[in-house]
């Protein structure tokens, strides 16, 4: 069933008007007619079943039970990759359950985001996150943010655990660190996972992360592209915390 995110806070039997975006998609793209039903995630991330009325308003039929969010709060913090890869990371990391998706201007980032284009780029990525969250049937839309440096990101983001995916760690056979962290993390805790851009994490950034007591973890013996590593990581989190 179609799922939409809306701002108002709903309750059973409540009525509400569709905003223009949802209205256009449900009535025109999906050809919705009075009596059709859809799922609505309200402003408090609660899920309701809604039915379309003759006047194109919606009546809340009932609240729906759902539990589709990761049991821990994961922030993906990726060194800024090329534009299409950033879009791709946002879409896939949203499908895979990330709570927040951040990019930072890494020492070795090839791509640069000009300050005057920043808000436009973030708006586009936020739209992609919302679409992916609807498609994945999530109740939370990840917030997409940008930081000029790794230092700034770590200073502003709150977390209980900090991890960095490091290719060299894999080469040195440090394969158990990720699983060890996932075995000791507590439900609801906040975990930041740092990933390098195409060029990788610089020694300076690596030293900074180690000063912050980051867990240095390998993601298996194969070299993963910058846009693939966050997905491997999120799938590992889900496998360890949701599948067993």
């Amino acid at each position: 069933m179609q799922r939409y995110f809306i701002k108002p806070i709903l309750k059973t039997d409540a009525h509400f008007e569709l905003d223009t975006v949802v209205s256009k998609h449900w009535l025109q793209v999906m050809r919705g007619v009075p009596g059709d039903q859809a799922e609505f995630v309200d402003g408090q991330e609660n899920l309701y079943l809604g039915q379309l009325n003759e006047d194109h308003s919606v009546t809340v039929v009932k609240a729906l039970e759902t539990n589709v969010e990761l049991p821990v709060d994961v922030t993906i913090l990726s060194g800024l990759p090329k534009q299409d890869k950033a879009e791709w990371i946002v879409q896939k990391a949203t499908e895979m359950g990330a709570n927040t998706i951040c990019f930072f201007g890494a020492d070795w980032s090839v791509a640069k985001w000009q300050p005057n284009k920043l808000s436009k780029k973030l708006t586009r990525l936020q739209k992609i996150a919302q679409g992916a969250a609807e498609q994945a049937h999530r109740t939370h839309v990840p917030t997409v943010r940008y930081f000029e440096t790794l230092k700034q990101a770590i200073a502003e983001l709150e977390y209980d655990h900090l991890l960095v995916a490091y290719e060299e760690a894999a080469k040195q056979g440090e394969q158990a660190q990720l699983v060890k962290l996932l075995n000791r993390i507590k439900l609801g805790q906040r975990l930041i996972a740092v990933f390098g851009p195409e060029g990788g994490i610089s020694p300076k950034e690596m030293q900074f992360l180690q000063e912050k007591q980051a867990t240095v973890a390998g993601l298996g013996p194969r070299i993963l592209r910058t846009e693939t590593a966050p997905l491997y990581f999120l799938a590992a989190v889900s496998t360890m915390l949701e599948l067993q």
Copy 2:
């Protein structure tokens, strides 16, 4: 360091000529000069360090130790998706360690591959697999195959374990099946994982897989796109078998 796949079987101190593809990439794209070194995976999937000679032949310096392949033999069997998604699945599933990547004409596949275009499409996908295997520093290039139906694929492919990723399984809370299978699979065994196309697995295909005693497994509570599910699966296999 650059890595290339070549057909000949090598040994230390052996000399060999570069084929045109490798020669073009190493000498022209990478601007290789005599004395430069690269890694070569030979026809038996063994890894060697090679040094470029004045006459542009290569001398094998030494054999290199490597162990980057998944400890089990995974075949990704995906219902044929749209073309760009097929290319994407091949690239990412190769990065993530798949041994073989197959597509089948699913009951609900929107895309169709005309027999007369099949070999051209497979050649293109095979090239993508080789590029991804080089980039991921693998020693095995996955073979890409196509089957007209799921039944035909299961009849022709050999396997010890058969699994199907099924959205409904997730909804029914069948979250432990994948982990249970990965806990009982033995090193070196062959595992086929079936994924539906955009439209999903048809009831007829599902019934066939159940007759074949396929393990029906959910991949977490979120709905994953057809191109995302195989990556979640491969990351789960690596997490359970390579990281602990």
